[in-house]
Symmetry: C2
DNA sequence: ATTATACGCAACCATGAGGTTGCATGTCAA
DNA sequence: TTGACATGCAACCTCATGGTTGCGTATAAT
């Protein structure tokens, strides 16, 4: 796991909202997730921007994605967060 | 506490090293801290750049600083990290 | 008193990150 | 098969960030 990628992925507020949504509903389509962010969190964002965020999250290991037919299904993974957050706590 | 500032502060590798050092030795001068990063972590960085990082950490509440004579003493504070890291863990 | 030290401040620079636009591709439904 | 739909890809733009340089200031040491 690349620690740096995890911290950088968490640095963006939109990506944190995406993780919130995925944490609540483990599997979601890129399209679903985009719709939910716009509707429930009043975020103004395009699908393409969302796709980029997914890429960042995926490279950090915070998310895995799989192609099912014409959909890209995204799954949340909290493991990297567990590994990273106790660094300065005793 | 501004959550966003905490995540953003943790996104930089140099700042994370600074926290490592401060975690190990609670009180340090800007000068000491700079020297330690250069010596022990082989980081090439100027004092001014370090001062900027301290500002970022301080605004995030991860560090507090105090002027003692001609020194600026920096103190680590892990409280914001505790408050922020359990967001996606159940 | 004078010099060295530790630091603050401000301007400047280069790079990367988040975002948009436009178009191509693959899949599903009618 | 044809059209709608969900997504991929690439170029481009803007702005924040990390960094440097140069200079000024207050404290400490000789």
């Amino acid at each position: 796991m690349q620690e740096d990628l995890v911290y950088k992925a968490l640095a963006d507020p939109t990506r944190r909202l995406m993780l919130d949504e995925l944490c609540e509903r483990k599997e979601q389509t890129l399209y679903e997730l985009t719709a939910r962010l716009i509707m429930r969190h009043e975020v103004a964002i395009s699908r393409q921007a969302m796709a980029k965020h997914i890429d960042v999250l995926e490279k950090a290991g915070l998310v895995s994605s799989e192609k099912r037919g014409k959909f890209r299904v995204i799954v949340f993974n909290d493991e990297p967060i567990r590994g990273v957050m106790n660094r300065w706590l005793k």
